[in-house]
Assembly symmetry: C2
Homo-oligomer: 134 residues x 2
């Protein structure tokens, strides 16, 4: 059974990535590994941890409803989200990685976020980039 890795953040682009990853997993009969990564440290306090846990509980419930075999990994180990995502994908030999991208505003600067660029450049597997709903 193939595995699809998806980077999840509780934002519109994260929801879009998750929704698409579920569709792809159904299409391919693949399983999902949802990665929610925080660098940790001073920027991630107890309140953040509780809030994140609530959000991930919602994700788990949505995944259970989808019927797709899925695992949610919350990683707080001092790594950039891009590194966590690439590492997990490599370890499990993922078919591909799904990431969400923000929609560019009409006057938005022409630049991709550094995490998205890192994943696109450094992942050994293909990367499916999905836009948040407009």
């Amino acid at each position: 059974m193939g595995t699809i890795v998806v980077g999840y953040v509780p934002k519109p682009e994260g929801h879009a990535a998750l929704a698409r990853a579920v569709e792809e997993a159904k299409l391919r009969g693949a399983q999902l590994v949802v990665v929610n990564s925080h660098r940790g440290g001073r920027d991630f306090d107890d309140e953040d941890a509780v809030k994140t846990e609530e959000q991930l509980a919602e994700v788990r419930s949505r995944l259970a409803d989808s019927g797709v075999e899925a695992e949610v990994r919350q990683l707080v180990r001092g790594m950039d989200p891009a590194d966590d995502l690439i590492k997990v994908a490599d370890e499990i030999g993922a078919e591909f990685i799904v990431i969400g991208l923000r929609r560019r505003s009409p006057v938005g600067k022409l630049i991709l976020g550094s995490n998205a660029q890192r994943v696109l450049l450094d992942a050994t597997c293909p990367v499916l980039a999905v836009k948040a709903e407009g």
Copy 2:
């Protein structure tokens, strides 16, 4: 029947994108539109045109062998490849776009090509980014 748009250049990353697009088309029962775009003008002379035509003939033959319903469009209309690709995808309501990315060398700079960034940022549909074989 869904349609997948793939950006083709006669380079390792273009071959990787095409190969993956064929796989995805088979999996989904979708058809392919292969876009080979040149800005044209002084940088694209008769010799380039002949060479490109040879390369695209090879692509057409490979697609015929694959059994996937496919169309090859060579566009020389003064547009950047990214704009051509996005425009074609919008016009036909593509399911997603497949693009090839070069592999970064160990000392390579952390930057995506401007065409790849444009497609990733401005396409309204998802974008599957595939690495050239190592």
